[in-house]
Amino acid sequence: MTRVVVDVMPKPEILDPQGQAIAQALPTLGCAGVRSVRQGKRFELEIDGVLTAAQRTDIERIAASLLTNPVIEDFVLRIEDDDVVDTGRPR
């Protein structure tokens, strides 16, 4: 199995009021010195077997169109996997 992780964050120039609200709450919880907080989303897509180039292209397309609104968000896609090479052995 392969896991593709898509991290979505508000663009740096877009005001993130949720992150600001969290940052403002931190001192009351005794957590000092945090200059800012930004809140994003993480998607995990699990693929049977090894990720093919075609599947990767599909997922990149979906990440850029459905998972992210490119007007206000950026994404980073990575493959989080310890068995990209399919050994054929049962796990």
Partner: protein, 224 residues
Amino acid sequence: MSVRVGVVTFPGSLDDRDALRAVAAARAEPVGLWHADADLHGVDAVVLPGGFSYGDYLRAGAIARFAPVMRLVIEQAAAGLPVLGICNGFQVLCEAHLLPGALARNDHQRFRCQDQQLIMERTSTDWTQGYQPGQVVVIPLKHGEGRYVADSPTLDELEAEGRVVVRYFGQSPNGAARGIAGISNPAGNVVGLMPHPEHAIDPLTGPSADGLPFFTSVLQRLVA
């Protein structure tokens, strides 16, 4: 021949009934459309109502944009079909790229529900020709994610082309870029706004009847 105006109901739409009532008050024939419809049932115009389509999952409007009925709305809008998106409907229109920009969370992080003064700017659209330019109206709004955002070149283009249809008058309720409450596409057949004109068609049930001209405008446009 009566003018048929469709109102789409998505799972989670709230204001479809009021939108249908507003269409009837404008003396057009209201037609309920279902999100899964693969047919627009011959309507002459479409309203995408307010609410929380698909529970606002992912982003407001992000899932609704892929509903079967939207494929037809997007296709027909390009051919000139008048389309009005109210609140969640505006969010759907932005997600569908029928209008530029996006609606982000209110800068003060609170849901805002109030009667709002607005200034009508572009009155040459299919949905606003019943207003006078510069007219100040009172129409309710109610949203948590109504802060219009777009990059500076897009905002400059909207201003230069006179596509800012409605602006907040006085203090902005959500921190929207340049006080923008509603915009149109270049042709003026697609309009989206955060305030709810369908809640202001009758002084008995709203703060004014200032919203009714949105619905009578499209009628005039279609019978002209």
